[in-house]
Amino acid sequence: MSIRRTSPFILSALTLVVCFFSGREFLAMRAADEIRPGPGLTAARRLSDYFPPLKGTPGDTPVYVFQGPAAGGSVLVVGGTHPNEPAGTIAAVVLAENIRTAKGKVLIIPWANASGFTHSDPQEASPQRYEISTPGGRRSFRLGARVTNPVHQWPDPTIYVNPGGQKLAGIESRNLNRAYPGKPDGSLTERVAFAIMALIKAEGVVLGIDLHESAPEYPVINAIVFHENGADLAATAQMSLQAEGYDFRLEASPPNLRGLSHREWGDAAGIMAVLLETANASHGRLKGRPSAALVVDGQDKFYEKAAKLGRLFVPFGPAGIPLDERVARHLAGVSALLEALAEIAPAKAVSVENIPAAPAVLTQGLGAFLRPPD
């Protein structure tokens, strides 16, 4: 047989081999991460409990409830809105595995955009997983993409007009933090946003905290972004954080930037809404080789050089900004916001015990506050 006649068969066979081996890697992302909530857990629910049409879809995700014996307010902590911002997810997991509530209620969603955790962003070359050492072994976590998996929501419109009326590039139709307040009959991402809004209303949430990360070259970083409903709360929390040695900027939520949690949670549900940002080198545009080590250790020679050139909005030295430090910042931020809530609205206070203290996370390492794997 001539090469001309055999080459289609050879190419087809080669394609099948490529599909098999790469497909295996892609499908591995669908295996959900493990979480071992601590004894403070009072109920394990699903987001679909608040919006039943979400049940059985890739957007459904666990909601962990920590109800205290005494009456108080309700606080929502959301991680994993952007699955490529691991400090938000891990901070939520650490809280779920450690806290007990003495007064009021805490609701935790560690993987808000569950679909986004099942794939990685093309052309970002991110690792699919990273590991954290615990005293009992290594825990593995998925590093997903910023947006919903196109396998679950496709095609993107040319221009996305979000529920708030903001015109955005088509890909943003899969960005959970542009989809609030969501739509009950909208896209998967909009339905997830709608379900979170339904939870906020059903649970009488008074304070919503959305945990994020941003690239070191991005101006809104190491910041508390606040809705005007939560201006006093954010300012009070910032003062106590600064007293602890944490430099947090205050950024008011722009009223014309629609679809974001810190805008729509406040506007649509009237709650105090804040978003916390830490600095993550692994999803910036200046990063060197992406790797699990970059995610966890946060060291990058290009960012170090960019800092010397004055191109960054955070200090970035040879030690980088490790995940321990980023999660510690988030935990300190959550603690400060809870304290500020108690000060500003005592009747709505939520008293939480056993939040790992930021200095302890820094000295003992993050793994000391995660339960060991089986």
Binding site: V18, C19, F21, S22, E25, F26, S120, P122, Q123, E124, A125, P150, P155, D156, P157, T158, I159, Y160, V161, Q166, K167, L168, A169, G170, E172, S173, S187, E217, Y218, P219, V220, P254, N256, L257, R258, R285, L286, K287, G288, R289, P290, D300, F302, K305, A306, L309, R311
Partner: protein, 419 residues
């Protein structure tokens, strides 16, 4: 191997495979990406090659469906009929004809933010008109390509700005005027410059011999009305219309076109269209792999930092070269990878004017090899087989757009006060 060396290996492999071994561009890009992964110590990086190739999956579908649409218009006789109608209407005013054709060329880009949508939807309408008036194929292709790029930059929809805006949380508001300032003067210049002295509108008697005899029926124009109508409806009334996406819109236009004009075999036409599109589709897949491996090996980060390391005096030169050059791989990629850091580096200037100017520079990338998507497709719709003469014909207006964008950027403090 260090990041710049990896980049050198990738570029060297690409150049060697295309120039020495004459491999198709798409294949050469894929092999250069694989070479980069090996040189960067990442092994064959199969997952990354596949993932990168899917980075432009949506654009690949748009191109394939638009090529089918274009072939249907050609086979059904719609293109000939429309060219005739335009020539009859504007035969008394060459300037009016050129400016109308430029606006027609820009229109799909203005509503979709994509130069490809423009080159592929109104390109096949405008090109035959210009060719019938005696404009050489290369210049016709340049007219189509530049119109498509200017349409992508012009308001109301500029996806390049939206991409940069998403990177800095800048709402897409207040951009109409800055984008008009950048696009309109260059569009007028381009239309008149390309058509100047080289076109001849024949007298009516002679024109009749060039045009189809019988008056076409209205239904021949239905696919041409349907496609822009769906594009507009999707954008102005997104909540009333489900997100169809450009591939479905083009395929709907193709189906309507297949029953509205001359009879032809739609399956064979589709086959020919996909066959013609295949080299360009493979370039896009290859470009996706190339960018993914650049990121994987750190070469992307090194490239971005190299531009940002330029002293302030050279920063403008860096962005004038870097944005179009990276845009030669992908204009949208350039806006995301380089546009956002440049926008942040110029944070002390008016963000709206800066983003508008940077979007024009990134958009120019659609005329820059290796991908040169707008230029390639314009060459195809104009029947020009070689890319080089098209790029030469584009050079003047493209340089004018580059210079004008820089002027706007430098004058942004003054413009800010005026606007």
């Amino acid at each position: 191997m260090s990041e710049p060396l990896v980049l050198l290996v990738m570029v060297g492999a690409f150049a060697g495979l295309t120039l020495r071994f004459k491999l198709p561009l798409g294949v050469a890009l894929a092999l250069a990406a694989a070479a980069g992964a090996l040189a960067g110590g990442q092994g064959l990086a199969l997952r990354h090659l596949v993932e990168g190739a899917f980075g432009f999956f949506d654009i690949i579908l748009i191109l394939a469906s638009a090529m089918i649409f274009m072939k249907v218009l050609e086979e059904s006789g719609t293109l000939d009929a429309l060219a005739a109608a335009i020539l009859r209407t504007f035969r008394r005013s060459r300037t009016g004809l050129l400016l109308t054709l430029m606006l027609l060329m820009m229109f799909p880009g203005m509503i979709t933010g994509s130069s490809l949508a423009a080159a592929l939807s109104t390109g096949p309408i405008v090109a035959p008109v210009l060719l019938k008036l005696g404009l050489p194929r290369a210049r016709t292709a340049a007219f189509v390509a530049l119109g498509a790029v200017l349409g992508m930059i012009a308001p109301p929809v500029n996806i390049l700005v939206m991409i940069m805006g998403a990177g800095v949380d800048m709402p897409y508001v207040g951009l109409t005027l800055p984008l008009l300032i950048i696009s309109v003067p260059v569009a007028v210049f381009t239309a008149l410059w390309i058509g100047r002295g080289r076109m001849r509108i024949p007298p009516l008697d002679e024109l009749k011999t060039l045009l189809p005899g019988a008056s076409p029926s209205f239904k021949l124009y239905l696919p041409l009305l349907l496609v822009p109508a769906l594009m507009i409806l999707e954008n102005i009334h997104p909540r009333g219309l489900p997100g169809l996406g450009l591939p479905v819109i083009f395929l709907a236009g193709s189906l309507v076109g297949a029953v509205c004009g001359r009879r032809f075999n739609i399956l064979k036409a589709t086959q020919r269209a996909v066959e013609q599109a295949m080299p360009i589709l493979s370039i896009l897949a290859g470009v996706g792999m190339f960018i993914q491996v650049m990121t994987l090996t750190g070469a992307r980060g090194w490239t971005v930092l190299a531009f940002l390391s330029l002293p302030p005096a050279l920063l403008f030169a860096g962005l004038a070269v870097g944005l179009p050059l990276f845009g030669g791989i992908s204009a949208f990629g350039s806006a995301s990878v380089l546009g956002v850091p440049f926008l942040l580096a110029l944070v002390n200037r008016n963000a709206l004017i800066t983003a508008a100017a940077l979007s024009a520079l990134a958009g120019l990338g659609d005329l820059v090899p290796p991908a040169a998507m707008a230029a390639r497709f314009s060459a195809q719709v104009s029947g020009e087989e070689s890319l080089a003469p098209v790029l030469r014909a584009c050079a003047g207006p493209a340089l004018a757009l580059l210079a004008w964008s820089l002027v706007v950027l430098l004058a942004s403090p003054i413009l800010e006060r005026i606007l």
